[in-house]
């Protein structure tokens, strides 16, 4: 615990309004990423993982329809809650960069790759456009792009999804950030392309010592890439700990169910274990454990919300279940 923290979230709550009322997307969430650490954030759709990652760089559409409260929201030592617009701009891109899920729409269709990259480089460090070009070229080759000159002159629609994601990664690494927030960066890609990008990210992290918050729903990718993991369900962290341990011997019934329902674990053409029912739809759910309606172990005490408590046998691990350690 000697390393300084890259991300420090305490008690984050984000609520959205729609026609039917307020909906809690993230509920008193706490999360830490230390400098140089690769941390996974796992959850199914609607679990609040993308909202959490967007709130770090203050990219939520805050206003009448979206409210955010937190006890602490620090990114690389900057208090994001009170930061000025200028401080945020210096943080974004330069020290903390973000990569998104959809490489197909994350780039402006009317701007060439060269101008995209120059925009980022020039926004954070005044330099000649010749230098920016040389740097862009180098960054692209580091991302495994063989003909960076051609790619730089392309427009986004001329590149495949995998290529675009490489470009976005190159942009993310362009100012030597200390933190990268990757929001489902692989989901829209083919399996074989995913494989290559994972290898690339792993190499780059080892080289640069950047901290990564890797948001995903893919258990196997997170297990192979991350040191620690947070598992989210219905806006809350239900379990956390070293990735390998949590994703092989989960403590929380939800994580257990999630792992058990993967077809890979079963003999072909047999029934899978499933989590019954479906996640709460978000309109402010009842008090207590959000998972209790789907949980095989639910009992009376579950009507009170269980805190995230450290595991007795392993202080690195914690889960939000009254039966922690017992199941």
């Amino acid at each position: 615990m000697t390393r300084a923290s890259a991300i420090d979230i305490q008690d984050l709550t984000v609520r959205f309004a729609d026609d039917s009322g307020w909906r809690t997307a993230v509920r008193s969430l706490s999360l830490q990423v230390r400098e140089g650490e690769v941390v996974g954030l796992i959850g199914e759709s609607g679990s609040g993982k993308s909202v959490t990652s967007s709130s770090l760089l203050w990219l939520l559409p805050l206003g009448d329809r979206c409210r955010l409260t937190a006890e602490r929201l620090d990114v690389l030592g900057l208090n994001v809650l009170d930061a000025t617009e200028r401080e945020m701009r210096n943080l974004r891109g330069a020290q903390a960069a973000m990569v998104f899920q959809e490489p197909m729409t994350a780039l402006d269709p009317l701007r060439s790759i060269r101008r995209h990259m120059h925009d980022v480089l020039l926004a954070h460090k005044p330099q000649s456009s010749r230098d920016a070009y040389a740097l862009s070229k180098q960054l692209l080759s580091e991302m495994g792009i063989e003909d960076p000159d051609r790619v730089l002159h392309c427009y986004p629609h001329q590149l495949s999804g995998g290529m675009r994601q490489r470009v976005l990664l190159a942009m993310a690494f362009s100012c030597n950030p200390r933190l990268i927030i990757a929001d489902e960066p692989l989901t829209a890609l083919d399996v074989t392309t995913q494989h290559q990008i994972v290898k690339l990210v792993r190499r780059k992290t080892q080289e640069s010592g950047v901290a990564i918050l890797f948001v995903s729903h893919d258990l196997s990718v997170v297990r192979s890439l991350c040191e620690r993991v947070y598992v989210m369900y219905a806006g809350e962290v239900v379990e956390t700990g070293p990735a390998h341990h949590v994703l092989t011997r989960p403590h929380h019934p939800y994580t257990q169910g999630l792992l058990a329902s993967r077809p890979e674990l079963f003999a072909p053409r047999t029934r899978l274990d499933t989590i019954a029912g479906q996640a709460p739809s978000g309109a402010d759910a009842a008090e207590g454990c959000q998972f209790r309606d789907r949980c095989p172990h639910a009992f009376e005490k579950c009507s009170v919300r269980p805190p995230l408590q450290a595991s007795a046998g392993d202080p690195e691990r914690a889960s939000a279940c009254w039966l922690e350690g017992a199941i």
């Binding site: 309004a17 026609d19 009448d64 329809r65």
Partner: protein
């Protein structure tokens, strides 16, 4: 949020109320109007608004309020007529072209491309002039020239829905063209078509009034809003009320139709607040 849906409802209510108000006025004009629209009273020409004539009188002493009230009939009928001609002819041809495809579609689209590459209001001007001035001819000209617009819109909507997976499912399950049109395509394009027709109705009202204003539409002594504004233009510096009130009538119906159209669009597509 609540605010959004309340605003949407407000637009619908205001728009609907304006249109409803004028339709009622047009239907019951003889009951509502204080005078006959063509009653001449040469002693009270160009009178200012007063208790006897709420909106004043024109150059031969006709009651302007009554003429505005009766004018609703001609003005609204023209606008509705234009939309009806365009919608029925263009809509049927468009749905047909979209579903049949092939060379029928190709031919129809070349024709539409040609027609839409011309300035249709200018053509309407020439066509009305050729047909001879008159409110029916103005309506006919505007209606005919809006056919390609509806044809293209209904066709594109039909093509869009045709490609949806539920229509594909129906097709592989053995549903006939007619079945798919009736069960799947029609219910799903009805909304957008109604919205477009509502908005176009506002444009048609303005175009019809403009033709009447320049003298190609309604002929005297027929009361029509555009013609009323036109008759009052010579007195605008002294008897401003003459032209003002029929203009306000046009404006209110047109605003009503636009609000109604926008409100319906928001209702159909609450996310896309792009109007």
């Amino acid at each position: 949020m609540m605010q959004g849906s309340a605003k949407r409802r407000l637009m619908l209510v205001v728009g609907g109320a304006l249109i409803g108000f004028w339709i009622v006025i047009a239907l019951f004009a003889p009951l509502v109007a204080p005078c006959q629209p063509n009653d001449i009273d040469l002693d009270a020409y160009l009178a200012a608004p007063s208790a006897a004539h709420l909106l004043g009188t024109d150059e031969v002493g006709r009651d302007i309020l009554s003429r505005v009230i009766f004018g609703a009939r001609a003005s609204l009928l023209t606008a509705f007529g234009v939309v009806a001609i365009g919608l029925v002819v263009g809509g049927v041809l468009g749905a047909f072209a979209g579903l049949i495809g092939g060379w029928v579609d190709l031919l129809a689209m070349r024709f539409v491309d040609l027609m839409l590459s011309m300035p249709s209001l200018v053509l309407a001007l020439a066509l009305t002039a050729a047909l001879g001035p008159g409110i029916e001819n103005a309506m006919l000209a505007l209606g005919i020239l809006s056919v390609p617009f509806y044809l293209r819109f209904v066709r594109s909507q039909t093509l869009l829905v045709r490609e949806m997976e539920y229509v594909k499912w129906s097709e592989q399950a053995g549903a006939s063209l007619w079945f798919r049109l009736r069960r799947h395509v029609a219910p799903n394009i009805a909304g957008p078509v109604v919205i477009i027709a509502t908005l176009h109705c506002g444009a048609a009202l303005l175009a019809g009034a403009a033709l009447s204003f320049i003298g190609l539409g309604a002929q005297p002594p027929l009361a029509e809003w555009g013609a009323l504004v036109s008759a009052g233009r010579h007195y605008i510096l002294d008897q401003w009320w003459y032209s003002l009130f029929p203009g306000v009538a046009i404006l209110s119906v047109s605003v009503g139709l636009n609000l109604l159209g926008d409100g319906l669009r928001d209702l159909l597509d609450p996310q896309g607040d792009a109007s």
